[in-house]
């Protein structure tokens, strides 16, 4: 009965590659988010989608492209990976009437 799930859990890749991270929530929530947690554990929002529509884009390089095929899924595609992209990426979701966000298990991305 996983609420917010992400795949893969770990991702190790070379600089310059393109990779995707997938997120799915079975909570029936309308809004989904991507956060980046850096090596100092600082969490910062990247994107937010509401019912498949982009509502928050926090000055993230355009190498990062979110895509929401339906309101239960929010994927993150990253082009031309750089060393500085190494981080843990968390997906989250929240219901329409409540700002509480529920987080996925995270994807640890390591760029070599």
């Amino acid at each position: 009965d996983t609420a917010v799930s992400q795949t893969p859990k770990y991702l190790v890749t070379q600089m310059g590659n393109d990779k995707s991270i997938k997120c799915e929530q079975n909570l029936g929530h309308d809004t989904m988010y991507w956060y980046k947690q850096d090596s100092k554990k600082f969490l910062k929002i990247m994107f937010s989608y509401n019912n498949k529509e982009l509502i928050i884009n926090e000055t993230v390089p355009n190498r990062f492209s979110p895509k929401s095929p339906d309101k239960a899924h929010l994927n993150l595609h990253i082009n031309s990976l750089e060393l500085g992209d190494s981080a843990v990426y968390f997906c989250a979701s929240s219901p329409a009437s409540d700002p509480t966000q529920y987080f996925g298990p995270g994807t640890r991305l390591t760029v070599l």
């Binding site: 969490l43 910062k44 509502i55 968390f90 700002p99 987080f103």
Partner: protein, 112 residues
């Protein structure tokens, strides 16, 4: 601009000691405040939240927090910590938009 400050970056306590972690926020509008916990290698879990009403909110695992509007604070407390409380604790602010602004986190180490 919205911001969250957590002044205690690293706290070390012995089991059964009392805990108070500081959180101050900056925002002029109606606030939603959260405390999340991240156990080693795991995702963020919601401890408690405040939207309105009674400023003393109780959460899971014996944690509570008090919203003091005049001090722009939302400190987290627990009367007696256990070794299993060792984790990173994040205070977060939700304002007018859906995004959460996180503090830099406090790493709590409880010694048996």
């Amino acid at each position: 601009a919205q911001s969250v400050s957590q002044h205690n970056h690293h706290v070390i306590l012995s089991e059964a000691a009392s805990l108070e972690l500081g959180c101050n926020y900056s925002y002029g509008g109606t606030v939603n405040l959260f405390w999340y916990v991240q156990y080693p290698g795991q995702h963020l879990q919601l401890l408690l939240k405040y939207f309105s009403g009674d400023p003393l909110v109780k959460g899971i695992k014996g944690f509570e927090a008090e919203f003091i509007k005049s001090k722009f604070s939302f400190n987290l407390r627990k009367p007696s910590v256990q070794w299993s409380d060792t984790a990173e604790y994040f205070c977060a602010l939700g304002g007018a938009t859906n995004k959460l602004i996180f503090g830099t986190g406090t790493l709590l180490a409880v010694q048996p």
